[in-house]
């Protein structure tokens, strides 16, 4: 069966520090992968998606970047965090258009 792992679960980082969040998928190959951010009291905002190794599409201009170094690995990064980067970050994978499987999320607090 397919599973998705996301870590860490929580993270407190100072403003200006770097960020690296990792997401890995098991039990499938060549998945579409996505990074979403959920700000407090708001819906989900699609940040990046990837349909293959090295292929990254950005949905909104921002302080973050994404990479896909391996087929089932998706990384969200920042060189210098801002206060506005705080939120709940969710990784997801999908087969075609049949809906997502989400990771358990990372709660990021930038202080």
């Amino acid at each position: 069966s397919q599973t998705i792992h996301q870590w860490p679960a929580t993270l407190v980082q100072p403003v200006g520090s770097p960020l690296s969040l990792e997401c890995t998928v098991e039990g499938t190959s060549n998945p579409n992968l996505y990074w979403y951010r959920q700000a407090a009291g708001r819906g989900l905002q699609l940040l990046f998606y990837s349909v293959g190794i090295g292929q990254i599409s950005s949905e909104v201009p921002q302080n973050l970047s994404a990479s896909r170094p391996q087929d089932r690995q998706f990384i969200l990064s920042s060189k210098k965090l801002l206060l506005s980067d705080s939120g709940f970050y969710l990784c997801a994978w999908a087969e075609a258009n049949y809906g997502y499987t989400f990771g358990s999320g990372t709660r990021l607090t930038v202080v």
Binding site: Y34, R42, Y49, N97, Y100, F102
Partner: protein
């Protein structure tokens, strides 16, 4: 481009009462429709989906949703809610185009608060 509107940000309801969470979408192409549930500090879980066929779809825990193409709606219903149904519910849409990126567009979410 698609968009999703969830008409209620919060829905308070008493235990064992019926509930409807409303979702309307806008799209120039045919779509797939989804409902997700999120419990506190957790990721989202797929509740049910409409891909094709019968316009009424059901989940294993008693929720159902009906695709209404003419009204561009996909409302979620449950005839009798439990305390454990307290969560945030998201409606989502993706298009059926061959580009196949699988992107989902989410609504803003509806918080269902079930009271004893």
């Amino acid at each position: 481009a698609q968009s999703v509107t969830q008409l209620d940000s919060q829905v308070p309801v008493f235990e064992e009462a019926p509930v409807e969470l409303r979702c309307n979408y806008s799209s120039s192409v045919s779509v797939y429709l989804f409902w997700y549930v999120q419990y506190p500090n957790q990721g989202l879980q797929l509740l049910l989906k409409y891909l094709s066929g019968s316009t009424l779809v059901e989940s294993i825990n008693g929720f159902e949703a009906e695709f209404n193409k003419s009204q561009t709606s996909f409302h979620l219903r449950k005839p009798s809610v439990h305390i454990s149904d307290t969560a945030e519910y998201f409606c989502a849409v993706s298009d059926r185009s061959s580009s196949n990126t699988g992107k989902l567009i989410f609504g803003q979410g509806t918080t269902l608060q079930v009271k004893p």
